[in-house]
C-alpha cells in the first residue's frame, strides 16, 4: 500500500469518525426519534445527500460498469431502474410524510400498525424487510473486504478489511445515529460523483472517440449496439418495476421520508434525485462502453472486474494517475459504506422499536436507544462472521432481496391511497406473493417471458389487493343502499 493511498483512505476514515462525534454532540440524549431520524429535521441538502448515497451503492461503481461492458447500450435500462425508484416515491411519500410527522413514526412497522391496526401483519412485513436489509448489509460488507484488498494491493487481508471498516461504521453510527450517517453521506455522495466523472474523463481522454468504439462493437459484438429483442425489452420493463418498487420500500428509504424536515425539503430533494440517474448511472454506462477501447475482450465474470482493471491502467499514468485511482477506489468504498451504514441503522431501529419495544412496552426511549446501539454491534459482529465464512444453504435466502421486498409495497402504495384495503387482504396477498417468490427461487426460475419471477408474484399480490378493495367497496355500497343512502364514494 503506497503512502498516497494510506493518506487518502486514512484521512477519509478519520473524517467519518469525526462526523460521528459531531453528530453525537448535536443529538438529544435518549430520544429514539432524534437518534434514528435526526429529529425528523433533515433539510434539503442533507436529505438529498443521504437519499442519494443510500440509493447508489458500490454496485454503481463496480457492478454497473461491468454490466455495461458486458451487455452494451442496453444497460441504459439502469437509468430507468434508478429513476423509477424516485417515481415510486411519488406514489406514497406525500401522504406518508404527513402521517409520519403527525403520529411520530420511527420504523416502517409504525406505519403498518397505525394503518392496519394489526401487529401480526406488522411482524410479517418487518421480517421481510429485515431479510432484505440483511442481504444488503451482507453484500456491502463483502464488497468492503474486497475493496480493502484492492486498495492495499493485497497487503490488507479480506477479513481485516471487513473487521476494520465494520468497526468504523459501528463507531460513527452508534455515536450520532442518522445525523452522523447523513453527514457522512454528504461526503460519500460527493466522492461518488467526483470519482465517477474523474474516471469517465480519464477513460474518454485516453480512448478518444465513442463513435469509433461503437463502430468497432457493431462489427465485433453486434448485440452490444443492436436494438434489444423482445425478451430483453421485457426484462428492461420488469427491472424498472422490480428495482423501482423494491428499492423504494427499503426501510431506510422509508425512514428518510419520515426524516424530512417538511414538505419543501422533501420536494426539493426528490426534484434533484429524479435527475441523478441521468448523470450517475449514465456515467457508469459510458465508462463500461468506453472501457472496450482500453481493455478489450473481457467476458463473463471477468467483465465484473473491468473497473478495477481500468483503475490499474489509470494508476500507471504517474503520480496524478495514482492519486486519481486511489480517490476513485475511496469513492467506491464510500459508496459501499454509505449503503451499509443506512441499512445497519435501519435494522437497529427495527430491533429497538419493533422487537424489544413491542415485547417490553415498559422500557423507556433512553433504554431502547441504548439497546439499539448494542443491537448495531451485534449485527455488525454477525455480518462480519458471515462475510468471513462461506455462506451455508440457508443463507441463500438472503440472495432474494428485491423479489421479497417488492411484496411489502402494496401495504404502502395501495394502503395509503385506498382506505378500503384491510389488514386481512394485505396479509393474504403478501403471503401469496412471498410464497410464489420463494417457490420460484428454489425451483431456479428467475424469469418467465423475460419478466422477473418477483414481478409476477407482485402482480398477483397487487391483483389480490385490488380484488379486496373492489369487494370492500361493493360491500360498502350494498350497506349504504340497505341503509337507505344513495350512491357510494
Amino acid at each position: 500500500m503506497t503512502a498516497t493511498a494510506a493518506a487518502i483512505v486514512g484521512g477519509y476514515l478519520a473524517l467519518l469518525v469525526f462526523l460521528g462525534w459531531r453528530g453525537h454532540r448535536r443529538n438529544a440524549p435518549g430520544s429514539l426519534s432524534d437518534f434514528y431520524l435526526a429529529g425528523s429535521n433533515l433539510g434539503f441538502v442533507i436529505l438529498l445527500a443521504t437519499l442519494y448515497a443510500s440509493q447508489y451503492s458500490g454496485n454503481t461503481f463496480l457492478g454497473y460498469t461491468g454490466q455495461a461492458y458486458r451487455i452494451g447500450f442496453a444497460w441504459m435500462m439502469s437509468v430507468g431502474m434508478m429513476m423509477s425508484v424516485v417515481l415510486v416515491y411519488l406514489t406514497y411519500a406525500p401522504p406518508l410524510h404527513v402521517l409520519a410527522h403527525r403520529h411520530g413514526f420511527i420504523t416502517p412497522a409504525d406505519y403498518i400498525r397505525h394503518r392496519f391496526a394489526d401487529s401480526r401483519l406488522a411482524a410479517l412485513l418487518s421480517l421481510v424487510m429485515a431479510i432484505g436489509l440483511l442481504n444488503y448489509l451482507y453484500a456491502q460488507f463483502l464488497a468492503m473486504g474486497h475493496m480493502a484488498v484492492g486498495i492495499s494491493g493485497g497487503e490488507i487481508p479480506f477479513w481485516a478489511g471487513v473487521v476494520v471498516l465494520g468497526v468504523v461504521i459501528g463507531v460513527y453510527e452508534t455515536l450520532g445515529g442518522l445525523r452522523s450517517v447523513a453527514w457522512t453521506d454528504l461526503v460519500q455522495g460527493v466522492l461518488l460523483l467526483v470519482g465517477l466523472f474523474l474516471v469517465l474523463g480519464l477513460v474518454w481522454g485516453r480512448v478518444g472517440s465513442l463513435a469509433e468504439i461503437s463502430e468497432q462493437l457493431a462489427v465485433e459484438a453486434p448485440s452490444m449496439v443492436a436494438v434489444p429483442g423482445w425478451t430483453q425489452c421485457a426484462g428492461w420493463a420488469s427491472s424498472m418495476v422490480l428495482m423501482g418498487v423494491g428499492a423504494a420500500v427499503y426501510p431506510h428509504a422509508l425512514q428518510r421520508i419520515y426524516a424530512a424536515r417538511d414538505r419543501g425539503a422533501l420536494q426539493r430533494s426528490l426534484r434533484v434525485m429524479v435527475c441523478m440517474p441521468l448523470v450517475t448511472t449514465s456515467a457508469a454506462l459510458a465508462i463500461g462502453i468506453l472501457a472496450h477501447g482500453l481493455i478489450p475482450g473481457r467476458s463473463g465474470v471477468d467483465a465484473d472486474r473491468i473497473m478495477a482493471e481500468v483503475l490499474a491502467v489509470i494508476a500507471g499514468f504517474g503520480l496524478y494517475g495514482e492519486v486519481v485511482s486511489v480517490l476513485v477506489l475511496t469513492a467506491a468504498l464510500a459508496a459501499i459504506m454509505s449503503t451499509a451504514d443506512s441499512s445497519l441503522l435501519s435494522l437497529s431501529s427495527m430491533v429497538a422499536r419493533d422487537l424489544v419495544g413491542e415485547l417490553r412496552p415498559d422500557y423507556g426511549e433512553e433504554r431502547l436507544a441504548r439497546i439499539g446501539k448494542w443491537a448495531s454491534w451485534v449485527i455488525i459482529g454477525g455480518v462480519v462472521l458471515l462475510a468471513t465464512r462461506p455462506p451455508t444453504t440457508l443463507w441463500r435466502l438472503i440472495e432474494i432481496k428485491m423479489e421479497l421486498l417488492i411484496q411489502v409495497a402494496p401495504a404502502f402504495i395501495l394502503g395509503l391511497r385506498f382506505p378500503e384495503l384491510d389488514a386481512n387482504t394485505v396479509w393474504r396477498a403478501a403471503i401469496v406473493g412471498i410464497v410464489l417468490s420463494l417457490a420460484a427461487f428454489f425451483a431456479g426460475i428467475q424469469a418467465i417471458g423475460g419478466i422477473h419471477a418477483g414481478t409476477w408474484a407482485c402482480a398477483v399480490n397487487l391483483a389480490l389487493c385490488g380484488i379486496g378493495i373492489r369487494r370492500a367497496r361493493a360491500t360498502g355500497s350494498a350497506r349504504h343502499a340497505g341503509g337507505g343512502e344513495v350512491g357510494n364514494r
Binding site: 437509468v79 402521517l99 463513435a211 423482445w230
Partner: protein, 80 residues
C-alpha cells in the same frame, strides 16, 4: 402574484395528465417498438434507439423536477 399562483396550483390538485404522460414516456423508454437492426444510425457514437430512450428519461426528469407540486398528492393522509 406568486401566492396567487401557488394557491391556484394547490386548488387544481394533482394532475392525472402529467401522471399518464410519465407512464407513456416510461413505456417509450423501452425500445420494444424499434425494428430489429444492428443499432445504426449512431448519434455521436450512440445508437439512435438508445438516444430516444435517454431522451424519454430526460423528459420524465424534467416533468418531475419542474412540475412536482402538480404530482404531489397528500390526500391519503387525511383519511388515515
Amino acid at each position: 402574484m406568486k401566492m396567487a399562483r401557488t394557491s391556484r396550483t394547490a386548488d387544481a390538485g394533482p394532475s392525472r395528465a402529467l401522471g399518464w404522460t410519465i407512464v407513456v414516456l416510461l413505456c417509450l423508454s423501452v425500445p420494444w417498438y424499434f425494428p430489429a437492426g444492428d443499432g445504426r444510425p449512431f448519434v455521436f457514437g450512440v445508437p439512435l434507439w438508445c438516444v430516444v430512450s435517454f431522451a424519454c428519461y430526460v423528459a420524465i426528469a424534467s416533468i418531475v423536477a419542474l412540475r412536482l407540486p402538480r404530482l404531489w398528492d397528500e390526500r391519503g393522509a387525511e383519511e388515515l
